[in-house]
């Protein structure tokens, strides 16, 4: 074999290995994450305030996910559309007003303690939320549908499920319109200093997995996400 042919072969092997390596790394870099949503900030007397509207649905549907029957969080973006994005950029030391529209039924908590609201406020009442307008500090754990918990900020909020008897349930395609049966939970919490805080759900809401804790419960972009708190 001539030197040129050998060089060509070695070059091809290196190129093939390079392409495979690149594909592998690229695949991993984009796997299992979620697009980042930069939440718009208002300033009240120079203090950053954020309004965040989210909804929780029983099935994400085939338009927004390759896994149409997974449960999921959605966030309402600037242009008013609902997106399956669970990594949010937020300002530091800000007041965050969150409104959650929950369209999912109740699954019940594995650990009832997450039925207690914690680290959030409803108006001036600490450790409480407005559940359909009423100040609530805890819900019956068996009626919980989803939980929004940011452990590092000490935030725990349980969302009450829609009763099975309710009429006009949301269908298998998210986002769900507000005309469907839902519960509304409103609460306020504060981001502390800059950091990368994860948030998650604590209700075993992943159907079909042991402990209800596989699939969407273990994948960023469904029942898990991050708050990128930036200075």
């Amino acid at each position: 074999m001539s030197v040129g042919a050998k060089l060509l072969l070695v070059g091809l092997a290196v190129a093939a290995l390079g392409v495979l390596t690149g594909f592998y790394t690229w695949n991993l870099t984009y796997a299992g994450g979620s697009p980042v949503y930069t939440v718009p900030v208002k300033y009240v007397n120079g203090h950053p305030v954020v309004d965040l509207k989210i909804q929780t649905v029983a099935a994400i549907g085939s338009k927004l996910s390759p896994n149409p029957d997974w449960v999921s969080y959605l966030v309402r973006t600037k242009d008013g559309t609902w997106k399956r994005e669970t990594v949010w950029d937020l300002p530091a030391n800000a007041t965050i007003h969150v409104t959650d529209y929950n369209f999912d039924g109740d699954s019940g908590l594995r650990n009832p303690v997450f039925g207690k609201m914690y680290g959030v406020s409803a108006g001036s009442v600490q450790n409480a939320v407005y559940l359909d307008g009423k100040v609530t500090s805890a819900i019956d754990p068996t009626t919980a549908s989803h939980v929004f918990a940011v452990s590092a900020l000490g935030v725990v909020v349980a969302f009450q499920g829609v009763p099975d008897s309710a009429k006009n349930q949301c269908g298998p395609e998210a986002p769900c319109p507000l005309s469907n049966a839902h519960t509304t939970t409103e609460f306020t919490f504060h981001t502390k200093g800059p950091g990368h805080y994860r948030w998650q759900c604590f209700v075993p809401c992943a159907a079909g997995w042991i402990d209800g804790w596989g699939g969407p419960m273990q994948t960023i972009g469904y029942m898990d996400g991050f708050l990128n708190v930036e200075a």
Binding site: V3, K6, V10, L17, T21, Y24, T25, N27, L28, T29, A31, G32, G33, S34, P66, N67, G195, H196, R198, G208, W209, I210, D211, W213, G214, G215, Q218, T219, I220, D224, F226
Partner: protein, 621 residues
């Protein structure tokens, strides 16, 4: 014409094609069996474990059929006489097909394992990229776990055969004066099973990866995505391959030694292979069994390891470590044997304390069965047995110490030549010293409470496995590759490789002892920000360690493919029998079976006995 016929005959190409066909057959069959409403492609991969398992099993069967593993049994069934025709083929195509020449299999192993070592190493680089910052940055939290899992599983699984695959397959028959292994087709099967396994593990990224690391503890294993199935199939195939490889080695060494090769004349490397093979044969089936139970839990909703259903995760932890602890000695023992085999050659002295060295290898083999619960000191299992496991674990340092004293006394007053293989062996002493002594902290329960599951234990086993196994793996490459290929490796590049690897290996894993002591947990994507300097330092030197591997790769390609300086028959002036054969070794090794009269370590005891007729021309059969 002959080449064209080989391309459409039974070879890697047909193997891959039939493998893919088998994969889809299993996939659709699995859907039909599980009563799925549609024969989906990937859309319901998370739900239908049955079809994922059946796809991979079908793929492996198709691959083996395509490689031609059924030709021989079918030929025998149809009444043809036994033959080893696969061996007679020559030319480059035999490296891509079922070949029963133990020397071809050895070289196949070297390249195959090298490829997956590269993938495992690439994942290590990705881990270090992510750990440059105390919080998550490049990869998503779940992807990081997948990367850690692939790195650990690939290295533990593929590198179990790092020495036995290439070097024992190639040199054990020669060292014992035989022309082949006892079971040549099984020998080829072990290699191709391992390659199939490696590919299957790599495909886990298409199924969402797996979150459990290489230990795969349930119930997390039971809970995980379909990527977990790739882990199960991978390790099961590796287990089967290891069992068969070990069995083949044991039978070969027991039954095929040439006349005069008594147990006390056996090269110490062959003793090391025998000990390792014994561990493989006894340990790997436990792994296959425990993974089968895990697969049943995942696919068939059994509850062997699900506590609420009457099972226990302790059952898995026990069974896994009954395999897992012998496994780490499967990785370490060949290193001991390589070091003891090479030191006499480069010290020009007989191996000191041959019986003690053998006792050391066998002692480790025996004791490695009695220590597994030291992985479970804080797990709450058998709290009252911890003093026993503490004692048995620390007892292992006695036979390990035999290897040290035999090696040290072998170089004592010798005529030491600092060749590249010798440098790697000396590097082994330093690395294994640190690795072994850091193990004392982990074997002592009160110290283990802090060090368990931290970067301390991670640094410890990298010192013993990378510093132990991989250093001797390279020693063996520099020592034996000229004999295998017939071409010299560049010595200057070899020395650059050794020094960069030795320095950057230590500057990578040394500081990690401190990181673990200061509270950095294994497999966690975050760490206290006070540890960022250590981690940045480690990442930088880890990248440099990766570059030192490229020096080796360059040396290999340059020396073997381009420069091509023919190697002398005996470049190291060794008395061992393989260096009395020409380089590369002829197809059937020996024209006449040699008769041994001594062990190969008689340096300073007169001229070496002539075991092989001096003028055996290469290529004669």
């Amino acid at each position: 014409m002959a080449t064209a016929r080989r391309l459409i005959g039974f070879n890697l190409l047909t193997g891959i094609l039939l493998g893919i066909a088998g994969w889809y057959a299993g996939w659709f069959g699995g859907h039909a069996l599980a009563g799925a409403s549609s024969l989906g492609w990937f859309d319901d991969a998370d739900y239908n474990e049955v079809s994922v398992f059946m796809a991979y099993i079908g793929g492996v069967i198709g691959f083996l059929v395509g490689m031609g593993f059924l030709n021989y049994p079918f030929a025998r069934l149809r009444g043809y006489p036994p033959s080893l025709r696969e061996k007679e083929e020559n030319g480059w195509t035999r490296y891509f097909s079922l070949c029963t020449d133990h020397k071809v299999v050895g070289i196949q192993y070297l390249w195959g394992i090298g490829l997956f070592f590269f993938i495992g190493g690439l994942n290590a680089m990705l881990i270090r990229t992510e750990l440059m910052r105390p919080n998550h940055q490049v990869f998503s939290a779940g992807t990081y776990l997948t990367i850690v899992g692939i790195h650990g599983t690939m290295m533990m699984g593929m590198m179990s055969s790092a020495i036995l695959g290439p070097f024992a397959n190639y040199f054990v028959p020669i060292l014992i004066g035989a022309r082949r292994m006892a079971f040549p087709r099984i020998e080829a099967l072990t290699f191709w099973l391992l390659m199939a396994a490696g590919v299957i593990l790599s495909t886990t990224i298409f199924f969402g990866g797996f979150p459990t690391g290489w230990t795969g503890y349930p119930p997390l294993q039971t809970q995980a995505n379909a990527g977990m199935d790739c882990y199960i199939i991978f390790f099961a195939l590796v287990g089967i391959s290891m069992t068969l490889l070990g069995l083949n080695m044991i039978v070969t060494i027991l039954t095929m030694r040439a006349p005069g090769l008594t147990w006390s004349r056996l090269p110490i490397f062959v003793w090391g292979v025998l000990s390792t093979a014994a561990l493989m044969v006894l340990a790997a089936p436990v792994l296959v069994a425990v993974l089968a139970m895990g697969a049943f839990d995942r696919a068939l909703s059994t509850t062997y390891f699900v506590p609420g259903g009457g099972g226990s995760n302790y059952l898995y932890e026990n069974l896994f470590w009954i395999f897992g602890h012998p496994e780490v000695y499967i990785l370490a023992l060949p290193g001991f044997a390589i070091v003891l085999e090479f030191l006499p050659v480069f010290s020009r002295k007989p191996l000191w304390g041959y019986r003690l060295a053998v006792a050391g290898l066998l002692g480790v083999t025996l004791l490695s069965w009695m220590v597994w619960q030291h992985h479970l000191f804080v797990s709450g299992i058998n709290g009252d047995l911890r003093p026993f496991y503490m004692l048995s674990t620390e007892l292992i340092s006695i036979p390990t110490g035999f290897t040290f004293i035999c090696g040290m006394m072998t170089i004592w007053r010798g005529q030491i030549r600092f060749t590249v293989p010798m440098l790697f062996c000396l590097g082994w002493f330093f690395n294994f010293l640190i690795g072994g002594l850091s193990g004392v902290f982990l074997s002592d329960v009160p110290s283990d409470v802090t060090t368990h599951g931290s970067f301390f234990s991670m640094a410890h086993f990298h010192y013993t496995i990378m510093g132990g196994l991989i250093f001797t793996f390279f020693a063996a490459i520099y020592y034996w590759l000229p004999k295998m290929t017939g071409y010299e490796l560049n010595e200057r590049l070899g020395k650059i490789h050794f020094w960069t690897m030795f320095v950057f290996f230590n500057s990578t894993f040394g500081p990690l002892f401190a990181a673990g002591f200061l509270g950095q947990a294994r497999r966690a994507v975050t760490y206290p920000s006070s540890l960022q300097f250590i981690n940045d330092w480690v990442s930088v030197t880890a990248f440099l360690l990766g570059i030192s591997m490229l020096v080796f790769l360059y040396n290999l390609v340059w020396s073997v493919a381009f420069k091509r300086v023919p190697a002398a028959a005996n470049p190291w002036q060794s008395r061992s029998i393989e260096f009395q054969l020409p380089s590369p070794v002829p197809v059937h090794n020996f024209e006449t079976i040699p008769t041994f009269t001594s062990d190969p370590y008689g340096y300073g005891e007169g001229p070496a006995p002539q075991l092989v007729p001096a003028a055996a021309p290469a290529g004669m059969d």
